[in-house]
């Protein structure tokens, strides 16, 4: 999208653009038709920056992450459009050899379920060593040392004994640490963490979140965090892109988006979170459910569930409207022509946040 492209230069901060996703379209051709899982997603992430893709199940956030890693099987998947510029080169145009160098080397990924992403019949040490040998010019002994050091870095006590263990001997939190050690062992420029703490208990989630934050700061790698948990977003990253129905619907700094959402969907998500303050009142739920991917509404995809929608919303889909140098929202409320409606929306803002 052009408007996001224009933003880059004006952004002050961490570094130059590392990842630039432009109008990405990832479709899946299945028996019943075509699922447009990702349909025009654009965002940028700077070197050393921290960005979260947020949304509910089926919004396309994980498919976006897998597309960046080129881990989408084609067919049934198809990259139907757009580009993913990583360090200046389009990931979608790389040949198999080149993408293998990037994948796991320059871009590392931490998955939600460490049990299914680790090989059950290989010791964790051997799995890290395999990754190191693939991406670095070291011998087996050197790779072993790197593996032990990586485990030490992620807070694994007794790493020399841990390398000999198999995934089933480890707890969920320990497995996630192994994944993180593996991701770090090749000094990536970008770490993609797809729901890294969703499968974990709250005290273990806390351990892993602190670890990811510390590691990110220590290594200076950029972090792309995929999550549905706005609490995790608020404390882990600096920028957010909210996704709905395969689209980015709002972007900005964490403070701007979570405290002053300019897209009713984001506001709805925030208001749905239960808390002490809301005791005794009904939670303001978002009515209805996410649209069926085969029967996407025309116009704004959120319009059928939106309490602020009017005629235009079901007729025509808004672009990501530029609200400031670091701020966009895909909602007609932000069109200058409907300023009075935006004022009403702002005025209707309930207590809770703010």
């Amino acid at each position: 999208m052009t408007e996001t492209a224009a933003v880059h230069d004006r952004r002050a901060g961490v570094g130059e653009v590392l990842l630039d996703v432009r109008d990405l379209k990832t479709y899946f051709h299945v028996m019943d038709g075509t699922v447009k899982a990702v349909d025009g997603v654009s965002f940028t992430l700077r070197k050393g920056g921290r960005l979260a893709l947020v949304g509910e199940s089926g919004c396309g956030k994980s498919v976006t992450a897998l597309s960046i890693m080129r881990l989408i099987e084609t067919p049934p998947g198809e990259f139907a459009g757009g580009e993913i510029l990583f360090d200046g080169q389009d990931v979608l145009k790389l040949d198999d050899r080149a993408i293998r160098k990037v994948r796991g080397g320059e871009i590392a990924m931490i998955f939600q379920e460490p049990m299914t992403s680790l090989n059950p019949v290989m010791s964790v040490g051997d799995q890290i060593i395999e990754a190191v040998l693939l991406h670095q010019k070291v011998d087996k002994k050197g790779a072993h040392d790197i593996a032990v050091a990586a485990l030490q870095d992620v807070g694994v006590a007794d790493p020399k004994r841990r390398v000999k263990q198999y995934p089933h001997e480890l707890s969920g939190g320990m497995r996630q640490r192994i994944m993180i050690a593996m991701a770090l062992s090749c000094n990536p420029k970008l770490i993609i963490a797809d729901e890294p703490t969703t499968a974990l208990d709250v005290t273990i989630q806390r351990q892993i979140l602190e670890l990811i934050k510390t590691i990110q700061e220590r290594t200076g790698a950029a972090l792309l965090l995929i999550t549905h948990d706005l609490g995790v977003v608020a404390e882990t990253v600096d920028e957010v892109a909210v996704m709905y129905a395969g689209r980015v619907v709002e972007t900005g700094t964490v403070e701007e988006v979570l405290l002053h959402p300019r897209m009713p969907y984001t506001r709805g998500l925030l208001e749905s979170i239960p808390s002490q303050a809301k005791r005794g009142q009904r939670l303001s739920a978002i009515k209805g459910t996410v649209p069926n991917p085969f029967r996407m509404p025309s116009g704004c995809k959120f319009a059928p569930r939106c309490p602020y929608a009017w005629d235009i919303c079901s007729e025509s889909e808004p672009d990501l409207i530029q609200l400031g140098s670091e701020r966009t929202a895909r909602c007609w409320l932000n069109d200058p022509r409907y300023h009075d409606r935006l004022e009403a929306y702002e005025a209707s803002r309930p207590g809770g946040h703010g």
Partner: protein, 408 residues
């Protein structure tokens, strides 16, 4: 790891509550009155609307699963899923039970509704001994206690239309008085309860796969409600749902509680959900109840170091907060071989801060009154908990080196 000492069972030992010899209680330094423990009176005059009468009382309940090994499958040990739990659920309240996976919260609920067999202990429902019921007596009782399961997919038979999913229970509980044996009566009732949970009457002909996750959970709720239960064990009822759907279901549960005078045991791991919906809350760790209090008291002034750590761990969606969190070390130990003394001492930050007092490793703390308003905690050093010691811990902790060495 040592086996636990044969310490006495953790029933409410109110004698322990005498605060005179203890350091002054931190949050609200008033003498705890022992009579509050089971009274049901409100703390600090806050209206809860919860009547004092207990619907369910549980005493020293234990549910063990045998570990079998060898050719003869001899029992070589026990997984102590629930290991001596006592508390009561008041009529009309929502009692929230929180804790991490493996703490026994789900097993406790399943034991109560007789889906698991208890090993020992007592549970009374409205005066009736729940755990000795059998045969037709048990069957009759099942109507009064229903379950809403976590997984709306796994708990609905995919080959049955909704009319059968709900009708099955009605047929099983049919009596001449209620007339549920008559198909017409059942169908009317199924339609009524579908509407009650916000679905359309004609959905009764549909199969589970035709519904979204939130709608399936509504079917599960309608199934429980159609039998007119007094008590519902809700086992992680919103954990599998997205946040926007989760709030719809929470609203529904609160509405239905009002409308049908329901009492809930609400088990969840999401602390915000439990805070929103519960009147009182119990915190479990490794088969034990470690803290029980009115919801506001528990969240504002936790009196067990585990609860402090749990609450501190929750990420706050307000980006202005960015608080420092207390990080617990290690993982939950195996319930087959719980640590000696206080089960939490192997991960306890307060134990470390206090210079590892021996008492924590030798004496199993009982649940005792630590604060007025029936605030109970099972910690020898609950009185040493205050903001200063939490701040001190957070300031000096290593947030990366939080694992423990491999066991030999």
């Amino acid at each position: 790891m040592t086996m636990p000492s044969g310490s006495p069972d953790p029933s409410f030992s109110e004698v322990d509550a005498a605060p005179a010899e203890m350091p002054v209680a931190v949050y609200r330094p008033e003498n705890a009155s022992a009579s509050d423990a089971s009274g049901g009176s409100d703390s600090a005059g806050r209206p809860t609307g919860a009547p004092a009468e207990n619907l369910i009382t549980i005493e020293d309940l234990k549910t063990y699963y045998p570990i079998r090994a060898g050719l003869l499958r001899r029992t070589v040990g026990n997984v102590r899923a629930v290991d001596g739990v006592s508390f009561e659920i008041r009529r009309g309240e929502i009692f929230g039970l929180v804790g991490e996976s493996g703490c026994g919260k789900t097993t406790l609920g399943r034991t109560l509704v007789r889906l698991e067999k208890s090993t020992s202990g007592q549970a009374h429902f409205d005066g009736t001994d729940l755990l000795t019921l059998h045969g037709s007596g048990l069957k009759k009782f099942r109507r009064r206690m229903q379950v809403i399961f976590q997984d709306p997919v796994g708990s609905l038979n995919p080959r049955m239309p909704v009319s059968d999913l709900i009708g099955e229970g009605l047929l099983a509980q049919a009596t001449p008085e209620n007339g549920w044996a008559d198909r017409k009566v059942r169908d009317k009732r199924i339609g009524d309860y579908l509407e009650e949970v916000g679905l359309r009457r004609d959905y009764s002909r549909r199969y589970p796969h035709e519904f979204s996750g939130g709608q399936r959970q509504r079917v599960g709720i309608a199934r429980a409600l159609a039998l007119e239960p007094e008590f519902i064990f809700a086992d992680e009822p919103v954990s599998a749902l997205d946040v926007s759907i989760q709030s719809q279901v929470l609203n529904l549960l609160l509405d239905l509680r009002e409308r049908f005078n329901l009492t809930f045991l609400f088990v969840a791991h999401n602390l915000s959900v439990v805070q929103y919906i519960s009147d009182r809350v119990g915190v479990m760790y490794l088969g034990r109840l470690v803290e029980v209090a009115e919801v506001a008291d528990l969240y504002a002034g936790p009196r067990h170091p585990y609860t402090v750590a749990l609450l501190s761990a929750v990420p706050d969606p307000d980006p202005r907060v960015r608080k420092k969190h207390l990080v617990l070390k290690g993982d939950v130990p195996s319930p087959a071989a719980p640590p000696s003394g206080c089960r939490f001492h192997t991960r306890c930050w307060l134990y470390e801060q206090l210079g590892k007092p021996e008492k924590c490793t030798t004496d199993d703390p009982s649940l005792r009154v630590v604060e007025q308003g029936g605030h109970l905690a099972a910690c020898h050093f609950s009185e040493n908990l205050d903001d200063a010691v939490v701040r001190q811990t957070v300031a000096t902790q290593d947030v990366v080196q939080t694992t423990v060495p491999v066991e030999a």
